[in-house]
Amino acid sequence: MKEQGIVLSVNDHSAVIFTKTCQLIEIVAPPNISVGQEIVYSKDNSAHFDKPRIKTPLLVATMALAALFIGIFMSQSIFNNRTYAIISVDINPSVQFLLNKDLVITEVKAMNSDAAKLISEEVYRGLTWQNGVDQWFDVLENHGYESSERILVAAVLPNDDAELKYQLAALGESGYESEAMKAQVLVVYSDDFDLPEKAANSNLSIGMQILKNSSESSGIEWDPSVLKNADSQDWLLITEALERDYNVSVNPSRSSVTSNSNATQTSPQTTAPSNSNATQTSPQATAPSNSNATQTSPQATEPSNSNATQTSPQATEPSNSNATQTSPQATEPSNSNATQTTQKEIPSNPNATKNSNGNKG
């Protein structure tokens, strides 16, 4: 049924019409109407302004889609930003890097006032952990810490992250050496995620907390300056305690030893004797004692000098016979000219690309 009316008001979507039957109605605004104009329209379409009926499902669908996208975005950002691993670097200024799953630094914590001053000079957030550590070493070197001989890098990481373990081991093996600074880097890592909380309660970095635990277990009275001031005998005791309780990688004279019985060691073990005449007596690749452990990656040995006598790079069998050993263990070169049998070599640069599985560069 056709009706006649006068347009009184027009907005983006609708028009208000005064009809010949003295009704004020709202209709969907056609494109070519203007106020004061008389129009004829179909009563069916005009009696009830049907914009809401048209738009409601569309609106609901749009809102649902938007909510979905926002949810995905938020969840991704939450997961990406969730702390996946923690790495601390201790000399005396101590810093702690929180990493996301991509091993990118999401937060930096200065553990003392010296560190607070130094970290403010550079941006660490967004760097890979290796670049962050390298940058931190540079900063230390440029601020009078070049004489430091011991650097402790400690990490708390998920037990199954072979890649990060490999990278940490590589850092321990290569140490830190520049024109002005030459330091032993002691890398310690653990999968004990209660450790950061304990460290925070003690107002220590995770590295210092580990050091404290090991000092105490080796009968040495805890001293926060132990890293710098411990004599060689005490340091030996501490490192032995560390090796007993944690996964440790260190250069130059020590080999990597995995002794944590609860850890599933999936990363390659490395040996890299740097002393050409050194006799490496026990570069052990120790398989995990966890009965269900699966050792998936190859072991690596890197005799740096052909004259080196490598007498016992042993691959220790898992303590439980059910363990599946899927990759070749470190071989036992029979003489100094032995063929390099490792399937993987530790890159001299810890930032270098790994790995046999082609996971990440």
């Binding site: 006068i6 009184l8 129009i39 004829v40 738009k55």
Partner: protein, 237 residues
């Protein structure tokens, strides 16, 4: 200076006469208000705030040029309506608002419509005098906290009720005293209307907005509406 004060309105009148300094001062004093208008409108079809602000400013100057203080409409209300209408026309001209219902379109015929494809035909407020008349209607309704859009689809459907409403509206519109009094007091003189038209106050209260709107429309210069009401009244009687 309060934006809707008489001083401000007189400033607009002076600026309208061609005083560039006063016009600039007006724009300066109204800048935050203009930004507010642009913010209110920018979400709907015009994504760029700067572009919206440019349109708002253009409409504001147009409002200054067209403002008639004798109309009794405060400049703030007038300018806001001009800006709103200007942006509506801009969107229609640039077709930023999608046509939502082709079915509806096909069922609407424009009487005496020209068939040329002139984009200016899309302007809803191309007739400035008509626009001013509508703004005045909207202003008078705003005194009662209502508007044409709010009242749409709320007029009584029963012929008897409509007949009473027309009778009351005509009584209100024909008495200048009563009409001005209701605008001044911002309420319908229900008692007086009840006595004049011999309609129970309850009925008047129930349909007060319809009576008010009809009275305002009948007192406007929209002659077609008067003719519609006359025809309707005859039919009902």
């Amino acid at each position: 200076m309060p934006l809707s004060s008489p001083v401000c309105d007189s400033l607009v009148v002076e600026a309208k006469k061609g005083d560039a300094f006063l016009r600039q001062r007006l724009v300066t004093e109204w800048t935050s208000w203009l930004h507010k208008q642009a913010r209110k409108c920018s979400h709907n079809g015009i994504s760029d705030f700067d572009e919206t602000y440019r349109l708002v400013l253009s409409a504001f100057h147009s409002a200054v040029d067209r403002y008639d203080p004798e109309s009794g409409i405060p400049f703030e209300f007038y300018a806001a309506q001009i800006i709103r209408n200007h942006l509506t026309d801009w969107r229609r001209l640039h077709q930023t608002t999608p046509v939502e219902n082709n079915q509806t379109q096909s069922n609407i015929t424009l009487i005496n419509a020209q068939t040329s494809d002139d984009p200016r035909q899309r302007l809803a407020y191309g007739d400035k005098n008509m626009q001013d008349s509508i703004i005045k209607i909207e202003y008078q309704l705003s005194l009662f906290n209502t508007s044409l859009a709010k009242l749409a689809n709320h007029f009584p459907k029963k012929p008897d009720d409509m007949q009473k409403c027309i009778k009351l509206a005509k009584a209100l519109g024909s008495s200048e005293t009563l009409f001005n009094q209701s605008l001044l007091e911002r309420k319908l003189p229900i008692q007086s209307l009840s006595e004049i038209c011999n309609v129970p106050t309850v009925s008047i209260k129930r349909h007060r907005y319809c009576v008010l709107c009809l009275a305002i429309l009948l007192s406007s210069n929209l002659l077609l509406i008067r003719s519609y009401v006359e025809i309707m009244e005859r039919e009902l009687s």
